[in-house]
Subunit: 359 residues, 4 copies
């Protein structure tokens, strides 16, 4: 359990950080979708390590191979299997933690749960697994694009540096023009400098990724437990290092009064029912209302720091764990494509489910 | 889809606010659990409307009837069906919104999705449905109690009034001694006064429910998409009016450095591996580590206010919607048992899954 | 697990033979379907005990109550909960088997699995649970009818009496004109006499229910494990007392050669691709081909006989178990509506899934 | 949907007959199981084409590669991905049917469902996909072996040649000593001759695979829709070319009376509750009773015959389809390991589920 996501557009990922390969099987992608490797590769390149000095120096080409489900350039409705071979596995870097637990990593809990773990780079608990999600998400994005739905994420906070501008005033096309993936150039530069300082201090810092889904029609999502924002929340909280999720007015909204917070309906020029504000974040009663779907995801500081830390080993003895290996000082720049991928997967699933709602 | 929750301890709820009944079928409760109606009824009474002047005056006895799955006072391993008849359905109170959309309710989105809706009291989108969850959660709680696991929630914020004391210093046994369900009596009084003021202004306000799960062993939760906090998050975000979820250090944690944020391991007197701090909120890599599981849930201000608001009707024409019916000025006091119920359901499921993890 | 069936049109049944009630929650029925209690009641009446001297004399009105999911006479897309109260529970009839295992019943295996069981009338293992399936199936039938799909089952064998006529030559409208539910009147009479003889001998006998689904479009079913006949087979094998399932040419087909067995394609007057024969039973590669879907279901002789039988009790001691209670000498007449119900559920699910197959 | 099987021990297969590879992801295999490639390869070799003149001459090494989930020779509880590259793809052999429908194949139905298909060798509808099942089943077998459960299948009928001896009197260790996989040497020879004759006539024939599961404890299986034999039936009916499934007394049992058919309980020397006969096939009320689990699976004659047949093309025009490619004259010898694999998967799943049944 836990390695699959989605109901009708369903993915199952596999693979460990230092095993032969990682990959994903996508079941439920409708037939007839023109699909190429290039856009998948492009998304993988956005997540790929070694993109700048702000990210880990592990070198992985992350070449994707499509093993099934495609014929004459179009999906057949059969499972799409995407494979990415691991290459730059310096597993020896991890022999020092073979029996020790790195603080705030999954070493201890994986050992506690399964009694046997692949300690190399965290094994399956490594964020390397998210490459498989990004590959699957790239397929979902192509499907959504066909339906006129777009998904865009960006870095809105790094440590105490927070972008205060409402997202509607940002030029999101600038997101990928800088290594931080913050669409406001001046803030992006400050964030880059900040991360670099942290890195030199052999430390790490957290941040926030914000995201908006545009073009989603009203009616997506399920009642009760299947609310669209509950699915988005589950998707985001499943990403490594995530500590919180909020949508629309989020945590700040609790301080408002109902009379301020309610989004009043009106009919626009085209006869479309709209809301004057969007505290709802595009979702009401768990179902999309046709406005922008907006949410924010909090990422903790990366657990691996280049410092000595107290810990214990499998025998319960006190040990010192020293940060080694190749790690990111701040995870949010590389998390942007992951957030987009997971959001795209949720939306693709919701769109397919919506086809079955009415007689 | 969307009306079931859980994998091995799985519930399916049904029913509308103004239909004949609401209820829940629980599938997967292990056999042999002594089960009585009284503790279920007790939880329902905590959620029940009409408890104080701070909550809606709808009168519902919320009497639960166990229809199946129980024999000689013990569960049989067969589905438990729990039924609650609706009684105080003043459906006429809703005729004025039969074709109008209440702002920030699910009226518009349900119509957009299904093309046909039960408008009486919001139909299935009403928080009345959560009574079924509370009943199911009460069963899960009894199961967890058997395994030494406790779940406690409390109100930690109402509007701008926020309890700043670390939860470890609170006496949670005081939670139910006041109608707000805040375990700090002085703050509870301030919150009560505040809610009362808001109510008199015919307005509403949001708040935060915090929760702690004690006694959970290390090893609960699944990898990748099934992380324990992702399941808790999905559970909480599925509750009506919830806008955000965070666990451990949450959104505030992003500002910390890794060197501050990491929870260092040590071995305690009993030879148990522990962490010195708990920024992880009891969950590392998605799996419980044996510490307290701690999280917070943000609730928006209730959408129904006793004021006139601009809106549109099904024909897209401008209308004025006037708040009527019986509603809560602040949802968090009654949300406490719902948060506990959902948390209990997640934990029960995780405990059963854990039995299958190892050879 | 095991108490739910279907993926998109999904039912969950609950209840025991001698508990307060049995029922079913249907999740995924599309909104907008006109639904009435009468046709559901009609199907329940076909399955109801006490219809003739050929069936058990237990008296159950089997009155169905729709608790949710219906508004203004149409489905809302929300879960439909259907409740049937038990009435004629002579639970005392079962005190003699409280600790003994009836041969070829589920008494021993339920005890072995759960360690605690409701022995009254077999508890949940009783065929009484199938009333809930019939109720749900009646909803599915109404949905299928809307889509032009019909499901008809009939008794084609009782013991050694077997209807040899190809089903295409039967007048299936005669099925319900006799208590055996065999559409060939002369054979129906012979079967009735035979069952009556068996009953007088305080014994039981098995039989076969055949079924045909008409009007199903090509394209229903899923690949690999989700083949339409695999789903039909699972549905049928889940019915009490079923020992075998075959479709199209079935077991007899193994003796044929490929050159005889293959169904040759041609294009009919209307330009529709058809097959000249239908050994495939309307399903090729697991997907419907537009021809009649045809299958057969084998039912064993009812385990409860009005004779003394050797057995053991919970302590492992030898005991004599005497048939008491009210039971059917042959289950197939009452199985006809159950087979139809399960087939309808499979088809409804397949039709909804088919909506998601293509871009 | 349809490409996954199982609930707790869950497999997802992917791949087409003439694509780059086929494979399977196994999720839910408990950690700590010693696992090697050799026994998986051994099972694949049993299913592999080109084993004798009785089977297709396609040459596939079917080399399995384990991509994940294994560390230091033991499973980690993480998904096991198994990959098999396709090698001998003579896709040109299929250009003649690019737009024509082969009789009794899935060509027409796949086109009808998805509107776009990989026609090369039937694409995903090819029995080549079952290699992935056999690989997964080999893992399940190793797990079951650890628990003392064995699964054995054999050919019991080819065309009209049927093994009449009760399986208890067969020496199943002889099954793999001949290319037909019939454990009775004389009959095996007759069957081999028969298949060879059929092959020379450029025709095909069907058959039956029987199977027995030994060592399964009482208590496996789920109630209602999840009956163990329903799961076995679904598993078997999901195998290519299967037309029927029966267990225990099966179709023949309908002719018996209850007084003959019932399996009487007794307590054996070791104090174990047993049944004197096994018409139940080891399953009562859907739950295993500790006796041998026994079932039979009917396979139709292979659809591809080396003869000209009438058919139509995508445009609906009459065409002649000529058998080409490399095909089996009778599928049952190679079906034996597939039946075993699917049975092992069902049992592994049932064993894990059983761990959650009781408090």
């Amino acid at each position: 359990m836990g390695n699959s996501f989605g109901s009708l557009f369903r993915i199952s990922t596999f693979g460990e950080s230092h095993g032969p390969a990682i990959g994903v099987v996508i079941d439920g992608c409708p037939s007839g979708l023109p699909l190429e490797e290039a856009p998948i590769q492009q998304e993988l390149d956005r997540r790929r390590p070694g993109q700048s000095h702000l990210t880990t120096q592990r070198q992985e080409a992350d070449r994707v191979e499509i093993l099934s489900g495609l014929f004459d350039g179009k999906t057949t409705g059969q499972p799409l299997a995407l494979l990415i071979r691991n290459q730059d596995q310096r597993s020896k870097d991890y022999s020092h933690i073979a029996t020790s637990y790195r603080p705030s990593h999954a070493d201890y809990t994986y050992q506690a749960k399964w009694g046997h773990r692949d300690y190399r780079g965290g094994g399956r608990s490594s964020a390397r697994e998210t490459a498989a999600r990004v590959a699957a998400g790239a397929v979902a994005k192509q499907l959504l694009q066909h339906w006129g739905i777009g998904v865009q994420a960006w870095v809105s906070a790094v440590g105490e540096l927070e972008l205060e501008i409402p997202y509607q005033q940002l030029d999101l096309s600038l997101t990928d023009t800088n290594p931080v993936r913050c669409p406001e150039p001046a803030m992006a530069q400050r964030m880059a400098n900040y991360i670099d300082t942290i890195r030199k201090e052999r430390d790490t810092v957290g941040g926030i990724v914000s995201a908006v889904i545009t073009g989603a029609p009203a009616g997506l999502g399920e009642p009760a437990f299947g609310k669209l924002h509950a699915q988005l929340g589950a998707a985001m909280l499943g990403i490594n290092a995530v500590k919180g999720f909020e949508y629309g007015s989020g945590f700040a909204g609790i301080r408002q009064r109902g009379s301020q917070h309610n989004d009043l309906f009106y009919t626009d020029d085209k006869g479309q029912v709209r809301t004057r504000t969007n505290q709802s974040g595009g979702i009401q009663g768990g179902i999309s209302n046709g406005e922008d779907i907006y949410f924010r995801v909090a990422f903790k500081p990366v657990a691996t720091i280049m410092q000595d830390q107290d810990s214990v080993n499998e025998a319960g003895q006190a040990v010192t764990v020293s940060g080694r290996g190749r790690h990111d000082p701040c995870v949010v720049p590389r998390a942007v494509p992951i957030v987009e991928a997971m959001a795209a997967l949720v939306l693709a699933d919701a769109c397919l489910l919506q086809r079955t709602a009415r007689l």
